[in-house]
Amino acid sequence: GCSSVANQDILKVDQKSKQITWGVKADTRLFGLEDIRTGKLEGFEIDLAKAITKEILGPQGKAVFVPVTSSTRVPLLKNGNIDAIMATMTITPEREKQVDFTKSYFDAGQSLLVKKGSPIKNIQDLNKPGEVILGVSGSNSVKNVAKFAPRARVLQLSDYAQAMTALKSKQGDALTTDNGILYGMASENPGYEVVGGNFTKEPYGIAVNKNQAPFRNKLNWALNRLEKNGTYNRLLLKWFGNVKGFNYQEMKR
């Protein structure tokens, strides 16, 4: 079926309704997290989505946020519940078969979190039978591990906190995901550190449905404008300026 979703020009629909519906994370620090006091979502992706919305629809444009998880974001997009996904979603060729991505809006890199004093210094150290790597299911980082450390065993858990706690329970030897998230967790857990640098590039992109070229082009156009007018760097500073160990200068555009 899905006639309504496939045949509509989302851009036109959104311009008419003066709102864009974004699928975003609600449980990921720095990117998209619900503020318990206010019930509002906040984070780098939230701010960026708001800015893009205004850029496209003008000052009255409204960004509507729908919390998604790694497993729900694509079905929701396909069903038309959301217009676009901005939820720490890495651009991969596999995913590009199902959805269209904008250019990258954040160049994360994948890294490792281990207990301080662990013999593991980089991803090669994990490429042995018996080593166990923890990750979050649905994330691209666990797929990368299969490439870089094919001999290790990977355990995928539902969220970062579970993965972090599993690391503390010694259910695994290292936790892997995108460095921004890892630095956040390292700062909460002084006994743990990020090691091995970035062994992959994880460009995050905004995902839209196939056949929505006008919408995707408009998103790219808005992103470029925000990079040029300094809004992008301002948001980067706001969210990542104080994260220990995170080199925000490198990420500036």
């Binding site: 497993s71 995928q156 329970s169």
Partner: protein
């Protein structure tokens, strides 16, 4: 849909196998533990009954996910390291055993008083009466509800997905996330669950009719 089967049959079969394995272990375990606590619950002694009912009420009234997570995250921190599969299976066993205890207890109560009295009057001790007369009859009554518990158990084994237990649901999640073909993947996963549970439930119905 076909391409999922042709390309992903290996993880699917692996998941199916782990689901079956977990279910069988948990079935045997929860049957033994459940019967034990059912016997505690009908003991003469108040304190023993209390222990039995605390166990049952605690495990009956907490979500399985929380129990399994407890075994996966907390137990290794303080006691012993166990794999996700083991944590999930233990959690599932304890959770199900609470329900089985209730079922078995009801089964014992459903055996007419006359059977116990007949055995006692015949010279058997209470324990002998339980062993030779009451429990065999209770189990017969209990087979249909136990069958339903077992079906629930198979379905509940999907909790392994949350503790990296490599069961059917876990593999299904991974495939869905990898291929982004969510609905077809879960459709296949559903069919695989039905392959285990549907025959079971028809067999149980058949048994129920035969015993009635």
């Amino acid at each position: 849909m076909l391409d999922i089967i042709t390309t992903q049959w290996h993880p699917l079969l692996n998941g199916l196998w782990n689901t079956i394995l977990c279910s069988l272990i948990a079935l045997v375990g929860s049957l033994v533990i459940g019967t034990f606590f059912a016997l505690l619950e009908i003991s003469k002694y108040r304190i023993v009954r209390l222990i039995g009912s605390i166990y049952v009420e605690v495990f009956r009234n907490i979500p399985l996910l929380v129990i399994a997570m407890g075994f996966f995250l907390i137990v290794p921190m303080y006691i012993v390291k166990i794999s996700g599969f083991a944590a999930g299976t233990i959690g599932l066993t304890l959770y199900t055993s609470a329900f089985i205890a209730e079922t078995v207890r009801a089964g014992i109560n459903s055996v007419e008083d006359g059977q116990l009295e007949g055995a006692l009057a015949n010279g058997l001790t209470h324990a002998q009466a339980m062993r030779y007369i009451i429990l065999p009859q209770a189990f017969k009554v209990v087979i249909p509800p136990l069958g339903n518990q077992f079906i629930n158990l198979v379905k509940n084994s999907s909790v392994l997905a949350f503790v990296a237990g490599f069961d059917l649901m876990y593999e299904g999640n991974l495939i869905a996330n990898d291929t982004l073909k969510t609905m077809p993947t879960y459709f296949i996963v559903g069919v695989l669950y039905l392959i285990i549970t549907l025959p079971l439930s028809y067999y149980m119905r058949h048994l129920e009719k035969k015993l009635a």
